[in-house]
Amino acid sequence: MTQDAYNFAYLDEETKRMVRRAILKALAVPGYQVPFASREMPMPYGWGTGGVQVSAAVMTPEDRFKVIDQGADDTTNAVSIRKFFERTAGVATTTRTEEASVIQTRHRIPETPLREGQILVYQVPIPEPLRFLEPRESETRKMHALQEYGLMHVKLYEDISRHGHIATAYAYPVKVEGRYVMDPSPIPKFDNPKLGRSAAIQLFGAGREQRIYALPPFSAAESLDFEDHPFDPSKADHPCALCGSEDSYLDEVITDDAGGRIFVCSDTDYCETRQARGYRGKDAA
Amino acid sequence: MIEISGLSKTFTLHNQGGAAIRVMQGAELSVAPGECVALTGASGSGKSTLMRMIYGNYLAEAGRIRVGDTDVARAAPREIIALRRETLGYVSQFLRVVPRVPTLEVVAEPLRATGVSAEAAREKAAALLEMLNIPQTLWQLSPTTFSGGEQQRVNIARGFAFAYPALLLDEPTASLDATNRAVVLELIEAAKARGAAIVGIFHDAEARARVADREVDVTGFTPGCAA
């Protein structure tokens, strides 16, 4: 089978129009989960089928595409999706955040601030932030419609009562433009401050659950908290061992069988760019 | 204070072939503040029925039962509840309370219902229980486990906790020893002295003679039993 056998970006034009309509609605009602007719994709659920459909729908031949998985451009999932679009859309790809026009991500927001004109596409496993405590979809939709969000705070209350602090460390819920409570996908809470007032368009696609939602540029996304337990976007208290960055999100990497470990930037592009500019951490080669 | 006129009552037993039993007709009664009227008549002549009707416990068929400003025969439930809370006290022969509630609270409850603070109500309740010789060791226990005589005294304490302007007493001295009987009679006399209108049933003739100003024989209101 050749590349010519596919329509541009795999999906047929009618499907892309359908997805775009859902995206436009999602942008018009920030934080609201818009149902869409999610298609079967040539990859299993959980591998980013929602994100891929959103990327396919917004992609143009002129775009430059980047995919990250937990911040890294070189993991299986990221490589597969990048190749998928190279083959089905023939678009240029990149690992540089600054160069990319469409970035599909799983579980991170790039450290490099996004700019106007960029689109960040999130892969979302569970779009419903209320599901943890209210399993009935009919009820959660009503709760969103009526802004009954007390339950979100019950979850945070439970955290504090059990751990002494809000222990939710990822998929930390935000309130969008003072209206809808939204699950930002399983990004670390460290990334939450980057959600709000971003210059880029942020789109969220959940393939299995058939939902799309969005944060338009410069919209507010406030992390939920208590007055006496304010939101704290904490991270591991180390500098990156490779680039020395003090303020990027770090992965813990086990280096040997003797319990040796180092902390390195989870955003590989950010880390490499810094190293190229001469920044060095204590374990840099 | 209590004015009854043209009062009648029929029990219809729907589940026993709809038998209609006329138990009262043309009852008249008037009790002034500070006065104690004893209801007399043979057993089954309707003393308790009349008393229950005054209390709103039995429904009047026709006639008027004026207690203070309320016509019990026509009053809405909430008016009767207000009347029972503020105006009309009742000492029955039987104690019916929620199990496990301490005796002190049982006696204090009528006061609490009128807005008296918990502390003041308990103080008053304690004074009454003491007067009626209920040992202090029992005050924190539920009266449901008490002897008949003790229960009767708890019931009396409860009935006299609040200074009702009108009081109904059903055999208040039954099953009491001489000492406690004397205390109850004193309580009744004190209530009269402060102006309470009292309707009582006393089988204890001596007690009746001591506290009652008048006797009314209810046999006269009983159809078919007219004297």
Binding site: L146, E158 | N15, N57, I80, R96
Partner: protein, 274 residues
Amino acid sequence: MTETLTQTAPGRAAPPAPAAPLLSVRDLGKSYGAHIGCAGVGFDLYPGEVMGIVGESGSGKSTLLSCLAGQLAPDRGEVVFDTREDGPRDILTMSEPERRMLSRTDWAFVHQHARDGLRMGVSAGGNVGERLMAVGARHYGEIRATAADWLGRVEIDTTRIDDRPGTFSGGMQQRLQIARNLVTGPRLVFMDEPTGGLDVSVQARLLDLLRGLVRDLGLSVVIVTHDLAVVRLLADRLMVMKLGHVVEQGLTDQVLDDPQHAYTQLLVSSVLQV
């Protein structure tokens, strides 16, 4: 027939009822096809009053309660509630957001099975705190202090505040449900067989607790039960239902001691005496 006489129904600290009813029901009816759920029901409930609804299974009492509490849409009638902000409003013509807001602020609903009224996956403190958070409480320390206070008021050891309801006994679960409902200071409480599934010894404790709360908070209550002993101890007024119709209503002890309708007489005489 019972020869005992009741004490007064539980009185309240509140002064004599003000002129306006809190809940005013007119000609309420609900049918399930040809089957009548309830029909022609009307009554006024005043602040601080406790009204019992009795009848056997299928008499329509639960249907009626659901209609009153806005959980079921009746076919006809009015249910007018005296709201804090706007005075009397027919809850049946209210928007759903308004009705749901009422149901978590000024109203409370105590279910027969605590599981239906509790979040079993959430700690006792979280269960009590939920309604506070739902109306905007955002101070963890204050929410927790209020929850602890309420656990104390329903006689649950405050050291259990972080335990889940699944570890509680049936009676404790029911008391927790009550705390969870009353924490926002509702004025009207609906109760559906609140003592239904409990041991007799536990029932008495719960009844006593309810009586105290009703008196101290000046609550108005509509309580559905088939247990005449429960209404005798808790309710000021009684409504007897049969086949969807109200056959008799009045002062609780009067209805129980001098029942007028054949069905009520049967009901009262069928109770086993102990």
